[in-house]
Amino acid sequence: MNKRLLELNNVTKHFPIHKLGKKRFVHAMDDVSLSIHQGEILSIVGESGSGKTTTAKVIAKLYNIDSGSITFQGNRIDGKLTRNEMLKYRKNVQMIFQDPFGSLNPTHTIRSILERPFIIHNLAPKEEIENRIKEILVQVGMDPPEQFMRKFPHELSGGQRQRVNIARVMSVNPVLLLADEPTSMLDVSIRMIIMNMIKEFRDKHNISYLYITHDLAGARYIADRIAVMYAGMIMEIGKADNVIQQAYHPYTQLLKSAAPQPERDFRKQKLTTKGDIPSLIEPPSGCRFHPRCPAAVPECKNYIPPMTEVDKDHFVRCILK
């Protein structure tokens, strides 16, 4: 639990947008620092446009970062890697995407989708691949595997497709899995099953996760620690239960009060915020949340508060703390 597996230090990622005239940027990630320990599940929670998916894609090396550093198992990986280094990194770090149908090429059978990892990373001799695929399919609960191997993605349900996706990433025995809202497009009845499977792989194989979600309750259920992102910045990070139960940041509190809670009589509670998620092209000055913050004071406009430790391992980016 204590070994640091992945570390992001002050990572910034801006996407240029092409328009006539001056060059402008989408501030997708600003000054993001976080770390994931061996065998830990860190959940990033935030609304769309908060930069959580960009964070995962940056770690997956789908994007290069603008500044800061990313260290994996003690080695910097944010620069350009050789083909071999890249392959090695890819074998260790894998990603599960949100859309279970979009993640599977509709023109290939499950079998030919699942044999790619073995071929790319040279994991098994040709004649063994078939058996390895079967093993892994059983592991993700697709039993009997023969029945599924010949099928095309469109012949499977959403839950089955996501199982195939998990099977594919599991086949390379990764140490870190980036899961980008892996259950949000699934039917409610199957979500917990997939989440439980993810948890189980952590327990059994000591795999670490970066688990991205917009569902606060789900994050609390699955994660050891939670990071709350807003408009490209981390606002609060700490032990899962602490972040939820003692939410310091007004934004975390907002998310909390907005989440559906059947045990509460909602008629009594009203949201205290107005407005939409700010433009990431021209983000608000100072604290990114100040235009919507019910507790904002004049200084909030003027400077970006630093991350402050409010409790043990519980950090908040708010001027009031």
């Binding site: 409610v188 199957i190 917990m192 606060l216 309750a217 139960q245």
Partner: protein
């Protein structure tokens, strides 16, 4: 809350496709009172959207109403001509669609899209009246009147959905059907919209049929709850009763699929397997293939929807009256 304004009796509807008939709504009965908030929950493909489209009379060309009645204030919508239906649709029963992104015509100003709704129904309205009414409705959903001249792409997702709510309310209908109106939206936006709907309902006393797969949200906001599975109602009742005392194993499974935000952390399970194909429905109880409590009888005899007590029904062999 008062009189019954909508009553579905033995409604059967669905689609005719090459491989056979699909009865996506199978023998559905319910009553909706004035001012009531009825939640309908179920997985994708349980027939909840088909139900909405059937009530609206908007089924696609291959859609059919096979049997049953939809009684709006004792008038049967299923036996009406398209013209008679037109007089009731939107005027008395309107709808908010799932994807606000695509529900507005991208090349028309939203003001005009509101106005044409009024003008096609209210013959005594002048254009001026319609404009004023539209502005008034936009104000109700917290959109300033200068947005009358905006095009849909200039609005955020939440704003578009609020425009759709204004559009659904503009003729002051008795019933608004909402088909997953907040599914595509972020939690905070979702909450503001839900708040808005509840305010407006208090103010105008219309009934809402709210369709979603998000049971945790539904329990929180509904008066009455209907759980659908494979085209059938498998449990219905007052929302707090269904939440506190779910009877059907499927409902229990659904309840167990939402981890609690602040409550005790326990293991949550979900429901393995997938809903049956409408073309190859299993014999007996439709849920028996996925049911953790299944017995021999379940695959042989289809259970009826039983009245368990005053406000609670369930379709399972193993629930008894007074449970």
């Amino acid at each position: 809350m008062g009189d019954i304004i909508l009553k579905l009796q033995n409604l059967e509807a669905g689609y005719i496709i090459k491989q056979g008939d699909i009865k996506a709504v199978d023998n559905v009965n319910f009553e909706l009172k004035r001012g009531e908030f009825l939640g309908i929950a179920g997985e994708s493909g349980c027939g909840k959207s088909t139900l909405a489209y059937t009530i609206m009379g908007l089924l696609e060309d291959n859609g059919r109403i096979f049997n049953g009645e939809i009684l709006y204030q004792d008038k049967d919508l299923t036996s009406m001509t398209e013209n008679e239906l037109k007089a009731i649709r939107w005027q008395n029963i309107s709808m908010v669609f799932q994807s606000a992104m695509n529900a507005l015509n991208p090349v028309m100003k939203i003001g005009n899209q509101l106005i044409d709704t009024i003008l096609s129904h209210k013959k005594d309205f002048t254009k001026r009246d319609a404009i004023n009414k539209s502005k008034e409705m936009l104000k109700l959903v917290d959109i300033t009147e200068d947005r009358m001249n905006a095009f849909p792409h200039q609005l955020s997702g939440g704003m578009k959905q609020r425009v759709m709510i204004a559009m659904a309310m503009i003729l002051e209908p008795d019933i608004i059907i909402m088909d997953e109106p907040t599914t595509a939206l972020d939690v905070v936006v979702q909450r503001t919209i839900i708040d808005k709907i509840s305010d407006l309902r208090k103010q105008f006393n219309f009934s809402v049929i709210f369709i979603t797969h998000d049971l945790s949200l539904l329990v929180e906001i509904s008066d009455k709850l209907i759980i659908m599975y494979s085209g059938q109602i498998i449990e219905s009742g007052l929302a707090n009763k269904v939440y506190n005392n779910p009877l059907h194993p499927y409902t229990k499974g659904l309840m167990n699929s939402f981890p609690s935000l602040t409550g005790k952390l326990q293991d949550f399970g979900g429901i393995p397997g997938k809903p049956p194909n409408f073309l190859k429905l299993p014999g007996g109880c439709r849920f028996h293939t996925r049911c953790p409590m299944k017995q021999d009888i379940c695959s042989k005899v289809a259970p009826p929807l039983q009245q368990i007590n005053n406000d609670h029904t369930a379709r399972c062999h193993f629930v008894k009256k007074g449970n």
